[in-house]
């Protein structure tokens, strides 16, 4: 071998060894004493504002728990949140779930979207960790037979039914156009809505589809305009329904607009601007000021994070707290011990009483309806609960 070759090989070997050593050393760290609670949600992307909202809710709950000096299994419990970004992407959901499982979290609050929550739930189920979603409303999530899947608000079977009834009976819509964003949530809600609207006697004149990353809806709205509906229903999130509302007004479509909880946000009002006036939306649960602990929670949240609550933060807060409550009652962070307690728990949260039925759905969940008036969401009615 030439002198030069030897030196090159030696250099490569040294670099390789150094890299390997660095990797090994980074793995060994001080053993973490804190109990890890996982949070998964979209921290980037079109609905990052909602994901961050959830994360803040969980953070608030954990910080309060740490300050409360809880004892678990004889030791003071310190909780740490491990928050992961699933980008609202169904492909990222399981990846993030696996990451949390590998990090040995004691429980997970998440995910936000049904599209990510459902595939991720299998991973949590296989690992035996509890998963409480503060916002995923698709029915399938709790109907897979997983004893680890819970949610703290009503599901789309209820929401779709309430919306469908409301559209036909209260808003007087005879011809209805439905658009959905083809996500698990949007499509699921739109399907439930269609069922309920038809059962109530309404006519669905067309179903159009879009995507979770689109901002141009002129083509499908023009097509809908030609079919002359009384009402347009959109199953999807505010980052689409906001611009969509603008385009509806620009195209001169006079139909009423109805959407689900994905659009019942401050962001929708901002994105749609003046075009939002008169739009209807539903949201599981009751308005913040009707929640038993709503006002106080809103003040705490504002004081800590200096921004307004987007949508699901109170639910994320309650989800985290009910998880901690189950751990306290079981005096353990071992899922095998606290899961049965979680399943039968009855906890007074800021959103109301949290108790789960045999599927993991919340008992007594309700749906509220709102209308956008003068740049604000005006509360109309609550059904169920």
């Amino acid at each position: 071998m030439k002198e030069g070759d030897l030196s090159v090989h030696l250099k490569t070997a040294v670099v390789g060894a150094a890299a390997a050593l660095a990797l090994v050393l980074s793995g060994c760290g001080k053993k973490d004493e804190a109990i890890k609670i996982g949070h998964a949600g979209p921290l980037t992307g079109p609905v990052a504002h909602l994901g961050k909202d959830n994360e803040n809710g969980v953070r608030l709950a954990l910080d309060e728990a740490n300050a409360a000096n809880i004892m678990l299994g004889g030791k003071k419990a310190t909780f740490a949140m491990q928050s992961e970004d699933d980008q609202a992407d169904p492909k990222q959901g399981p990846i993030v779930a696996q990451k949390l499982v590998d990090a040995k979290v004691a429980g997970v609050i998440g995910h936000l979207n049904s599209g990510t929550t459902i595939p991720a739930s299998k991973i949590y189920h296989d690992a035996g960790i509890a998963q409480i979603s503060p916002s995923a409303t698709n029915v399938t999530y709790t109907h897979q037979g997983f004893k680890t899947a819970f949610r703290v608000m009503a599901n789309d079977a209820q929401q779709g039914k309430v919306l469908g009834d409301y559209a036909v009976h209260k808003l007087g819509a005879k011809n209805i156009a439905i658009i959905d964003d083809r996500s698990a949530y949007g499509q699921g809600l739109a399907d439930e809505f269609e069922k309920a609207a038809k059962a109530a006697g309404g006519q669905v004149v067309t179903r159009e589809f879009t995507g979770t990353d689109k901002t141009d809806f002129n083509a499908i709205l023009t097509s809908i305009k030609g079919k002359n509906p009384d009402l347009i229903f959109y199953g999807g999130m505010d980052s689409q329904s906001g611009p969509m509302m603008k385009q509806i007004k620009n195209l001169g479509i006079g139909a009423k607009f109805l959407t689900g909880d994905g659009g019942q946000t401050a962001e929708f009002l901002k994105l749609a601007g003046d075009a939002a006036e008169g739009a209807y939306a539903s949201s599981p649960g009751v308005p913040l000021d009707k929640m038993p602990g709503g006002k106080a929670f809103a003040e705490k949240y504002k004081a800590k994070f200096n921004i307004e609550i987007q949508l699901y933060a109170p639910y994320a807060y309650d989800a985290a707290n009910v998880l901690l409550e189950a751990m306290k009652k079981a005096d353990s962070t071992d899922p095998a011990k606290y899961l049965p307690i979680l399943a039968g728990i009855s906890y007074q949260g800021v959103t109301g009483n949290v108790a789960f039925d045999e599927n993991g759905d919340i008992k007594g969940g309700s749906i509220s309806l709102y209308q956008a008036k003068g740049g604000k969401w005006e509360y109309l009615d609550t059904v169920g609960g």
Partner: protein, 309 residues
Amino acid sequence: MDIFLQQILNGLVLGSVYALVALGYTMVYGILGLINFAHGEVVMVGALVSLSVVELLLGTNLGLPAPLLGVVALVVAIGVCMALGFSIERIAYRPLRRAPRLAPLITAIGVSILLQTLAMLIWGRRYHTVPALIPPTPHAVAGATITNVQILIIVVSALIMAGLMGLVHFTRLGRAMRATAENPVVAGLMGVNINRIISATFVIGSALAAVAGVLVSSNYGVAHYYMGFVLGLKAFTAAVLGGIGNLPGAMVGGLLLGLIESLGAGYIGDLTGGFLGSHYQDVFAFLVLIMVLVFRPTGLLGERLSERA
């Protein structure tokens, strides 16, 4: 019939934006043989910079008329994007001028990701609302409606495209660009400063991208750090459809793609009896692209590429 006309109008608006952005892709490809994947991100930067300028100016309450604010924001956005395009070329692509084709391609993707992440850090992850400086009052045109902003898009795009054609065919710079595109080595021997021409190409393309960004964000009222990615991809598709490296091709490709998408989304559901829904709009557009390329590999207006020495 008025629904059909409306879809045509929608398609023209969409297509004008695609055409503006496609021109940037096609010019760079014509001269460097490089697909500048970062171009879509330059559009995004243009939109976000103009949004920031508008918000800043509105915040200072100078009482300037709204359209003037828009023009100022546009000018600033164009300036920033020109500088950005120039820097990208100098920093990321020039060192790789003699590298195998794959290297600048991967670099372009890298620059695209870098710009997206930088934008995410600077402007956050939310969808930003773009204030309507020009009130989007709808006008009725033969049964269809079109807003002020949409008319502006079509007119501005047409003017810019005409201006670019004039630049490329009737000025010295344009002649130098055409010469460099044909054969850079010989053009260099003829006294053309290749580096300057390449920089000029990037700068012009980026200016167009800035205008497109401002127009798009004004039209939809939204701007966010990820908006350039899909737009860039579609514009690139439009450039290929029309014949990459060919300026009129980019314009035709852009308009055609806009029309196909609009008409496709509007009529797929009815044409296939509900079998394919309007969410197959992108599939439809790409199918058309594939068909065109199968029968005309160089694109609709593409000429056969001359052999390089």
